[in-house]
Amino acid sequence: MSATTMLDSAAEFDVRDYLRAEMMPHFLCPGCGHGIALRALLWAVHELAIDKDRLAVVSGIGCAGRLSAYIDASTFHVTHGRPIAYATGLALARPDLHVIVITGDGDCLAIGGNHLIHACRRNLKLTCLMLNNEVYGMTGGQVSPTTSETRVTSTTPLGNSEPHFNACALAAAAGAGFVGREVTHHVPKLKELIKAGLAHPGFAFVEVMTDCTEIFGRKNEMGSSAEMVLRQKSELRPSAYRDTVDMPFAAKDLPTGILARNDRPEYGEAYRRAAVAIKSAADNPAAGRKSRQ
C-alpha cells in the first residue's frame, strides 16, 4: 500500500489526492454539474477511507461515462448501457473490491434499463451513481428517458411529449436495497447521501440531478449555470422517506434524500452461502441428495 492510499479519514479532503493529474484539464463543458457530482463522490470515498487500490469504478458511454478516467483507481470505461452488467461480473468475481458504477440517464435508463432493474432485484453490493441531466449531451442534446415534459431537445423540436421516468421510483419498485436522490446544489448533502449508499451492504442507487448548461440549458433558455443551479432549489421537495412507487411518472418534483431502503440479503453473500452447501453436497453425495429433497 502506498503512502497516498493510507489516508486517514480524519485527514482533510483534497480532491487532487483522488484525481489523475495527467488527465487534466477535463473535458466537461463550463457549467456542467458532473464535476460537482464527481467531487462529492470522491469526498465520500475519502470520508469512508476506502483504499484507492481496492476501488474499482465502472462507467458507461456518455458524458457521465467519461468521469471514470479522472479517478485514481482501477477504472473501466465499458460499452453503452452495460456498466452495471460489467460491474456485476467484477464484483461477483472480486468481492474484495469496492465497485462503483457511474452512469447517465440515457446509459442507465434507456439502453441499460434492463440491467438496472435486475441489479435492483439481485441486490449485489454495488453503488450505482446515475447522473441525471435530462439529456444525451455528448451526442448533441437528444431527448432522454428523464427529459421533462415540454422541454426542447434536438429530437423534440416542438417540446417533449413523452412522460419521463422517475428513476428512483423505478429502482425502488424493482427492489433496490437503497435508493436516494440529491441535487448538485447541495454538495455536502450529496456527499452524505453517496456515503450512505457506499456504506449500504446491497445494491445502492443514487440519482444526482445535475445540469447540462451548454446543450440542454441553452436550448431551453434556462440561463447561466448559476441560474440553473438555483432553479434546482425551486424544484426541490426536501423530504425524508416517502413512497415513490406510486408515482413513477409524476410531474417534475424532486423529493430528495434517502427515498427507499430495505435490508434484503446481499446477493454475493447469499450466493457464497449457497455455494458452501453445494460444495458440501458434492463432498458428501448422500447428504446432498437429502438436502435437495
Binding site: 487500490d53 478516467a69 452488467a85 468475481a93
Partner: protein, 403 residues
C-alpha cells in the same frame, strides 16, 4: 496433427459435448460463468451452475445475452478466467461486447453452439452458419481466434486450449460447434487430457515492477501487453475507445495506428501456438474434402467409402478455424485435382477456402434445411468430381443448393 482422439482406454466416460465443455472449462481454470438460457447450449450453464461452486467459482444467470458477456468481461478484468455460452441469436447480441474484449484485450471464452438461422431459425437443428459471424461479427478491425471441435473429446481439449490461448494472447476466443456435436453423447476417455490440460493451464502475463514505469499497452518482443490485476496497486484505466500505450483514450493518429497495428498483427508471431488442423490421408489424395464439425465427421467416413471404391480422397479439417490455417490447407491440397467443401450453410467455409486457393476449383455441398450431410452424399460427390475431372482438366466450380 490433432486427429480426433478415439483410441480405447481404461477409464471411459459417456458424456455429451456440452458436458465436456463444462468439464474442460473447469479443468482449464475457469472460475466464472455468466449465461442466459438458449437452446442448444443451456446444458453448459446447467452443468457449471453446480460445478463452479464446487471449485470456489461463481456462476450467475444474467438478465440477457448482452449482460452475460458483459459480466464475463467484468470478471476477467478482475483477473478471473471467465466464459459464457450461447447459440446464434445470443451470439449476435454479444458482438458489440466481444469487440470490446478484443479491443481492450480482455481474455474470455465465448461458446457458440450453432443452430439453424437466420433469426430464431431452427433451435434444435444443426447448422454451421456462424463461421463468418465468428470472424467478422463485431464492427471495426480486430483479431479473433475461433476453434471448431468435431467430437465430444475434442470439445473438452479445445475448451482447455481456448482458455490457454485466450489467457496467453489476451484475446477473446470463440469455441464454435454445431448442435449435433453439442448434444451428442460419446464414449470418451478424459484422464490423460485432463492431466495435460491442468499441466498446460496458461496464466495471463501479469504486470510486475513499479507502478510509475508500468504502461498498460506497452509490449516487448511477444507483442502481448502485461495486464494489471485490480488491487495490485497499478490503478489503470481500461476503455473501448482507441487508446495509447498508457491506456487512456487518444485520437493521435500515430498512437492509434501503433496500438491498433500491434493488436491486428499480434497473432502472427504466435501462429505455432494457434494453428491446429487435421490432415487425414491427404498425402496422395486426388480429392480433398475440407470440413468442420459434424460435416467433418461424415467426411471421415466418406474418405473411407471413397477409398474402398478406388477414389483417393482425403480430409483437411481446420481445428483452429480463425485465423484459418491457410499454409496447411495449401500444402494438404497441393497434389489434389479437386477440393470439396461440405457445410451446413449457404457458403461460408467454401468462401474462405476459395479465397486461399485462388483460381483452383472448389466445389461445395451447401445445406441449410436442418439436416446433416451424410457420408454417402459426400462420398458420391467426391467420387463424381474425380470421375468427371479428366487429367489436367478440372471441373468448373459448382455449388449444390440445399434440397
Amino acid at each position: 496433427m490433432n486427429a480426433i482422439e478415439t483410441a480405447p482406454a481404461a477409464s471411459m466416460q459417456l458424456i455429451s459435448g456440452n458436458h465436456a465443455c463444462a468439464l474442460g472449462a473447469i479443468a482449464a481454470g475457469c472460475r466464472f460463468f455468466a449465461g442466459y438460457p438458449i437452446t442448444p447450449s443451456s446444458e453448459i450453464a446447467e452443468r457449471l451452475s453446480r460445478g463452479l461452486p464446487e471449485v470456489d467459482g461463481v456462476f450467475v444467470q444474467m438478465e440477457d445475452e448482452i449482460a452475460s458477456i458483459a459480466a464475463v468481461i467484468g470478471a476477467s478484468m478482475g483477473g478471473v478466467k471467465a466464459m459464457t455460452a450461447t447459440s446464434g441469436p445470443g451470439f449476435s447480441l454479444k458482438q458489440e461486447n466481444l469487440g470490446y474484449a478484443a479491443g481492450a484485450e480482455i481474455p474470455c471464452v465465448i461458446v457458440n453452439v450453432m443452430r439453424g438461422g437466420p433469426s430464431t431459425g431452427m433451435p434444435t437443428r444443426p447448422a454451421q452458419g456462424d463461421i463468418m459471424q465468428a470472424r467478422w461479427g463485431s464492427h471495426g478491425d480486430y483479431p479473433i481466434i475461433a476453434l471448431a471441435p468435431a467430437s465430444v473429446r475434442e470439445i473438452y481439449t479445445e475448451t482447455i486450449r481456448a482458455f490457454d490461448l485466450s489467457e496467453t494472447l489476451r484475446t477473446p476466443v470463440v469455441l464454435l460447434y454445431d448442435q449435433v456435436i453439442a448434444q451428442l453423447t460419446e464414449t470418451v476417455e478424459l484422464g490423460d487430457a485432463g492431466a495435460r490440460g491442468r499441466a498446460a493451464a496458461a496464466e495471463r502475463k501479469w504486470a510486475s515492477g513499479p507502478r510509475e514505469s508500468y504502461r498498460p499497452y506497452a509490449v516487448d518482443e511477444d507483442g502481448i501487453p502485461a495486464m494489471s490485476r485490480p488491487g495490485a496497486g497499478y490503478r489503470v484505466h481500461t476503455t473501448g475507445l482507441n487508446h495509447a500505450e498508457d491506456g487512456f483514450p487518444t485520437q493521435n493518429p500515430e498512437a492509434v495506428a501503433r496500438n491498433l497495428g500491434r493488436l491486428l498483427a499480434k497473432f502472427e508471431r504466435h501462429r505455432d501456438l494457434i494453428d491446429s488442423w487435421q490432415a487425414l490421408a491427404c498425402e496422395d489424395a486426388e480429392v480433398v474434402i475440407v470440413s468442420i464439425g459434424i460435416s467433418a465427421r461424415a467426411a471421415i467416413r466418406a474418405v473411407a467409402m471413397c477409398r474402398a471404391r478406388g477414389v483417393r480422397a482425403g480430409l483437411f479439417r481446420p481445428v483452429t478455424l480463425w485465423p484459418f490455417p491457410q499454409a496447411a490447407l495449401r500444402e494438404a491440397t497441393a497434389g489434389a485435382r479437386a477440393v470439396l467443401v461440405p457445410e451446413l450453410n449457404a457458403g461460408q467455409l467454401s468462401l474462405e477456402v476459395q479465397r486461399i486457393l485462388g483460381d483452383r476449383p472448389v466445389d461445395a455441398i451447401h445445406r441449410y434445411n436442418g439436416e446433416p450431410i451424410t457420408p454417402a452424399e459426400i462420398a458420391e460427390r467426391a467420387s463424381s468430381l474425380i470421375d468427371t475431372t479428366g487429367a489436367g482438366s478440372a471441373k468448373a466450380p459448382g455449388v449444390r443448393r440445399a434440397r
